[in-house]
Symmetry: C2
Subunit: 268 residues, 2 copies
């Protein structure tokens, strides 16, 4: 089972009990993501044993006494929503294997719960249920969320500088982030263009104090070559439109298409 990575542009987090937790904001899915298959035991990520708390939660919740093997060409902990993708893909695989006949939104709610409880993400699973640029208009679990989508057929550039622990940010004071994120959503919806999305996203990241000098240098380099760029929420990295200049920076660079289709039975 393939589930796309999800990259968040800006967000307004709300933490309550799992079903009422989530985030407003805009995220998008890309052609890269995770391929997950069930195994007899253990959790492996690209061949290495690893603790993946969201997957453990899914295995336990669905009473599957086996393991999960994940393959991905993206790094964990860098803002690509892999913990949510792994949880959702595992839930879909177990649903199929055990013939549970659970719906996508039931499985997604469970994956979302795994994320909230582990503080690994708040809006990725909702985004991964749809694909494209997904606007979350309500901070909640997938089955209660109201969304809309913009299907822009574009390729983006990415620069990954390093990790950033979502859980640390989500343990901090979220009130200011919520207020800034909510205003960002209003500003984006007033003019829902790609250019405005980048503008709103960068303003959000700066106002929240997430942007350090290396990130800002990379963003400005893209802007000076007539591209748009902002910071990956939450990872030490940059996503950009017409951002080939990111190649020149230290870190891992790649390009990926925005995908309309975020869930697939076949590996892409």
């Amino acid at each position: 089972m393939f589930v796309s990575a999800s990259v968040t542009c800006f967000f307004a987090p709300k933490i309550d009990e799992p079903k009422r937790s989530g985030s407003l904001g805009v995220s998008f899915t890309i052609d890269r993501g995770v391929n997950v298959r069930l195994t007899d035991e253990g959790l492996k990520f690209n061949g290495k044993d690893m603790r993946i708390p969201t997957a453990e939660y899914i295995l336990k919740s669905l009473n599957y006494y086996g393991g999960v093997e994940v393959k991905s060409n993206l790094p964990l902990g860098c803002g690509f929503g892999l913990s949510g993708a792994i949880a959702l893909a595992s839930a879909l695989e177990i649903n199929k294997r055990l013939g549970l006949n659970m719906s996508l939104l039931q499985l997604a709610d469970l994956a979302h719960e795994a994320e909230v409880l582990n503080r690994t993400g708040l809006g990725d699973v909702v985004t991964q249920c749809y694909g494209g640029f997904v606007v979350r208009k309500k901070a909640s679990c997938p089955s209660r969320c109201t969304i809309d989508r913009y299907l822009w057929d574009i390729e983006l550039d990415f620069l990954v500088i390093g990790e950033m622990r979502t859980s640390e940010v989500l343990e901090g004071s979220l009130k200011d982030v919520y207020r800034i994120g909510k205003r960002s959503l209003r500003e984006f919806l007033r003019k829902p263009s790609l250019e405005n999305l980048f503008k709103v996203s960068k303003d959000f990241a700066v106002r929240c104090g997430f942007v350090d000098d290396r990130i800002m240098d990379a963003i400005e380099a893209v802007e000076s070559t007539d591209g748009f760029a902002s910071m990956i929420m939450l990872g030490r990295g940059v996503f950009a439109y017409k951002g080939e200049v990111l190649k020149e920076f230290k870190g891992k660079y790649f390009r990926s298409k925005v995908s309309m289709c975020s869930i697939g039975f076949e590996k892409p």
Copy 2:
């Protein structure tokens, strides 16, 4: 732009003003559908000039003074939701060409409106926004509809015997169809398995009086070889799981995968 065909298993229609019109029920998208591109003028379907009222409505509503060319390996008027697919794909293409920055649900609402006004469909566009087996829990336009999805990774068999004008059925008394359809949805959701979906769908088609002898013969042939089958709503045709025996019947036979992904920029 590619948009999947949508096949309806059962439905409960409601006709009111366009945004409040729609149908409850279950439909699914398949790997086949329509490829649409914008042209200078005229409406063409597989190279032939044709009147496609839903596409005309979209061109006019979005002020696009050009034409549309549709390619499809499915027939019009046989229950594959092509009028909705063409409307949605045209709207997406025009949105892109004119840089309108409209959201998927805004474009889908317009395509749904085109369907309702021409009585060509009530639930196809909602289905085509998502993909897989889509449960419509509210009879309304896409932006107001509540849905859920079952992502069963299967291939189905189809037999197309002939056309059936959706508009004629939708002009008739819909009260009984609504009542039977609503009960069918409850029965399906009580046990949302593939086997029960076929059972509920066949009961629905029979109770509504849509099934003639040729359709019933084909359904029974599939059942006698341990498959499941029901009638395409609304077309003179049959969809089946393990229904290879349909090959032996008069009409057009084909197989197609159920698609998780119903909208794509690339032609599949």
